[in-house]
């Protein structure tokens, strides 16, 4: 089987209930069903998670390096948008 002909999938894993899915890596598979099985075999060998998402890499639209000036720079001088003055109760975990 030619690896080049297989689409690439991005793998997201939720490590435990209450947390978000996190990107852990990518792999090649014939389709999303197979990608889910391989994600189990490649990324969950040491029981790292309770839930898996697979997304075809070509379905992801990503921001470009050239967008930096218009996308991110304007936020640098707007500190009032940060919620830094709020004190979080200890019970609020994983923010």
């Amino acid at each position: 089987m030619n690896q080049q002909s297989q689409p690439l999938f991005e793998i997201f894993i939720r490590s435990k209930r209450g947390l978000d899915h996190r990107h852990v890596g990518s792999l090649h598979a014939e389709d999303s069903v197979q990608a889910l099985e391989y994600a189990r075999d490649v990324y969950l060998r040491r029981s790292e998670g309770v839930s898996i998402w697979v997304v075809r890499s070509s379905d992801i639209t990503a921001s470009q390096e050239s967008d930096v000036a218009s996308f991110y720079d304007p936020m640098d001088d707007k500190p009032y948008r940060h919620a830094t003055h709020f004190k979080l109760p200890k019970e609020v975990d994983n923010m």
């Binding site: 089987m1 690896q3 297989q6 792999l27 090649h28 598979a29 014939e30 069903v33 197979q34 099985e37 391989y38 189990r40 075999d41 490649v42 060998r45």
Partner: protein, 253 residues
């Protein structure tokens, strides 16, 4: 040793042998898999089977009155003392052959371990409860692959059909009980394997027809594994499996 204990010991050894041989065969795919992801998946499956072999052999070592260890059972017996079904010792062949064998064994294992998890022997029931979860996943994988291969290209279809034709007669002994095993069934310890056949046939028919494959005719059957009669392949397998313990007895790392 009481006959019941001896029967239980032999039962554990036979189940350990089934897992050890197939685990070893699957481990031969390590670094030879068709692509990286599948290589890892095959190796994971191999480790599941070898883990099972360890559980059965360490239980056998507990029962044994000759003081043999799990390593003794795995590494220091000769061909005729192994009790695995022949299907588990056959060489891997091509990927279609490996997956066709896997489907046949996985479909059998799902039924078998469901039965064994009800055993009156708590250790066997415990091992089975762990194994059945693995086997359900193995079956999902092998079924998926047979559908892809059977209903794939002309070449993959032909290779998969040839594999099932070459393997079909090896299924018979999986449902053929020994007298000793019958005694354990009466005691509520062992699984009546004969009773697993109907479900197994149903599963195979469903998957093969969906994969556009023909069910091979029941025109031949070969067995003898549970009596220690093996194919010529087992000796070569053991030569590799046992090399280290034979060359350096008692070696550990």
């Amino acid at each position: 040793m009481a006959p019941r204990q001896e029967a239980l010991l032999n039962y554990c050894i036979a189940l350990g042998d089934d897992s050890l041989m197939l685990g070893h065969r699957l481990s031969e795919w390590c670094r030879n898999g068709p692509f990286l992801e599948e290589d890892l998946a095959l190796t994971n499956t191999a480790l599941d089977f070898i883990g099972r072999a360890r559980m059965f052999f360490s239980y056998a070592a507990e029962i044994d009155d000759k003081g043999r260890s799990e390593d003794d059972f795995a590494y220091l017996r000769d061909c005729r003392e192994y009790r695995n079904f022949l299907i588990n010792e056959l060489p891997n062949g091509d990927f279609a052959f490996t997956m066709a064998r896997q489907l046949m064994v996985d479909a059998y294992d799902v039924g078998f371990f469901a039965g064994l998890s009800q055993s009156s022997d708590p250790m066997l029931a415990g091992i089975a409860a762990k194994a059945i979860k693995e086997s359900r996943y193995h079956l999902r994988r092998s079924e998926d692959w047979i559908l892809r291969l059977g209903d794939g290209t002309e070449e993959s279809h032909e290779r998969t059909q040839n594999a099932f034709n070459a393997l079909w007669g090896y299924a018979a002994e999986m449902f053929d009980m020994t007298d000793e095993e019958q005694q354990l069934v009466k005691a509520g310890i062992a699984v009546d394997r004969g009773g697993l056949k109907a479900d197994w046939v149903t599963t195979m028919h469903a998957v093969l027809s969906k994969a556009t494959l023909e069910i091979p005719a029941d025109s031949w059957a070969i067995g003898g594994g549970r009596k220690g009669e093996h194919s010529e392949h087992l000796g070569f397998l053991l030569a590799e499996l046992q090399f280290l313990q034979r060359a350096y007895p008692g070696q550990q790392w």
